[in-house]
Symmetry: C2
Subunit: 399 residues, 2 copies
Amino acid sequence: MSRNLKLGIFGFGVVGQGLYHVLEETKGIKAEILKICVKNKQKKRPLPMEYFTYKKEDILENPEVDVVLELIDDPKAAFEIVTAALKKGKAVVTANKKMVADHMTELYELQKEYNAPLLYEGACCASIPIIRNLEEYYDNDLLSAVEGIFNGSTNYILTKVFSEQKSFGEALTEAQELGYAETDPSLDIEGFDAKYKLCIILTHAFGLFVNPDDIFNYGIQNISEFDIKIARERGYKIKLVAKSRKIDDKVIAMVMPQFVSDKSELYKVEREFNGVIVEGAFSEHQFFIGKGAGGYPTGSAVLSDISALTYNYMYEYKKTKQVADLELSSDYEIIIYLRFDNQSIINKDDFNLILEEYKALENHYVIGKINFSKLVGSKWLSNPNINIILMENGNENHC
Amino acid sequence: MSRNLKLGIFGFGVVGQGLYHVLEETKGIKAEILKICVKNKQKKRPLPMEYFTYKKEDILENPEVDVVLELIDDPKAAFEIVTAALKKGKAVVTANKKMVADHMTELYELQKEYNAPLLYEGACCASIPIIRNLEEYYDNDLLSAVEGIFNGSTNYILTKVFSEQKSFGEALTEAQELGYAETDPSLDIEGFDAKYKLCIILTHAFGLFVNPDDIFNYGIQNISEFDIKIARERGYKIKLVAKSRKIDDKVIAMVMPQFVSDKSELYKVEREFNGVIVEGAFSEHQFFIGKGAGGYPTGSAVLSDISALTYNYMYEYKKTKQVADLELSSDYEIIIYLRFDNQSIINKDDFNLILEEYKALENHYVIGKINFSKLVGSKWLSNPNINIILMENGNENHC
């Protein structure tokens, strides 16, 4: 049956404080905060000072602490804390997506070796219980795809740009003020944050351990007024979409802006919300939507992990045992919109087939089929005067 | 760790056969079918006859059978099978919503007494993992509401009527042909099926054990062309919505047709899909959508329960321990549309406030605030020449 837990917390920012309040008002959960380890001695704290310490040993070496909550920003320091805690046999909960994605293999091995659980529901789409669902509910299913909007701050920005005609800069500032954007906004804007979440999902959906560097991400930083005009004319919104899809024994995965029509569930996912589509052979089409950023939704997910620990829950990583021989592939065809300001920048021969071509004084675009590996290897991809957007349903064809 | 399971199945209809195919193609799950107990000796079976038996003892008294799958239509016979199996200490999986809802208290006690698990994810919204999510993920949250479209066949019918201008009868026949409607369509049409699911959810969301007879259901059988015209004029669709909401220490619950605008997530839930909205104090607004009917989605949910049993999973019924002193209330105000063909039928004094009134030669309606207990007790409610539809956001005010 369930047991009482004593918590040691690292970090007391938006998520930590959100968690504290959620915990305060939740009578059912048997957990109490023993110590909170913070860095900045100057900062005023909203709790009595006896809760706080500046020495990590006060938590890591404290035999009373059952569960370590790692809620700091710095992925390197976070990994050290998590490693040390697991080696002490302590259960660990984290919401640090970069840290988990970067070290998935080591974290998996550490859990096995020390029989200590590491849970990280808060690292993926905050309030949407996607990892637990993939792990627990879809383990029997022939999963074919998991995709969606995994980043709340870019979605907030795109919503403001699309629905309220705000400029990109205005919208970004607003997202940061509301606490939806990470300290380093490029992590959000350039698609890294969504990619880290996708990597974690790849493990729990398809049993793959993937280095984030091996997954392609293209952000929303190059979206121009012209791109937005084209989207509007065609009845699309632009969304930053993370995708993974199993095709035979290959898995394709990427983060890219995509044109989304109102036929897609993702069309209506607005502001800081995230939306995840899960496709299975038998459960068919499932869609989850929930708040993807902010202290309370993330705090709530973290607390859910704590609650699971009172019942000694561990991820089983069932897919790593069930699904054999899946591997990442970049040999497949996608259909993209490529906008550029100068014909000499791009090489149209990189495309297998040009479907549409538009020329004007300032802006040009092509829409065409291109092999994904060709796109990723192209010279023009890093040019800031271009933009690429995946066409809707433009990623289904495997070569 | 996980164990191999030997299955005994009662019933081999749409769900049983769906399950069989799902199981066939799922390599990861450690479960094999030992025996299938069926009633009709004449029916041709799509499997070798050595799988089949006509004696329930061949499963219930067979010490090799670990898990009994109860997939028959008849709730009374189903309850006998489930009871007998639990008393033998066998794990049981069922998709029979009426049986579970009617006997929730007894089934809860039986599980405790014999320490045998009963799982029924397939009984609630088929492929949507709502019970597991309420049980596992929201147990720490201050849940405020669970509501949605819980019945695939009425939603299919309403979609056909609204989007394809089909008649009610045509749409019903089509739903039955596709296997979306129950053998007795009145269970669907009159809102009983959705109500049984709501009762099960009330236990897992709010810790309430509720007799289905104590929950009000009003179906879609009285929806007329006039009602549809009014809905269209106002930009609404009509959906059959099951609702539960916590207001202070009271819980309100009902199944009713409702006007739904495109501001609601439920607006886009079409055909046989179900949609469930979960509101929590911290996770805030969550929305799940998935196929709510059919052999494969239900079979997939049943198999997910089997998979959970390989890890000895049991529902903890955590809310029954966490949330104290909640009780069902019918003392609250709702806003309804009431259509009638004859002024003498209804009693307008039953309303606290009439907001709109429309008179014509054939059809009349009022929109007004009425106490829920007054509505349920009114004489005119059972008159077939009226119809009631809940106004959108018409159920938030507790007296």
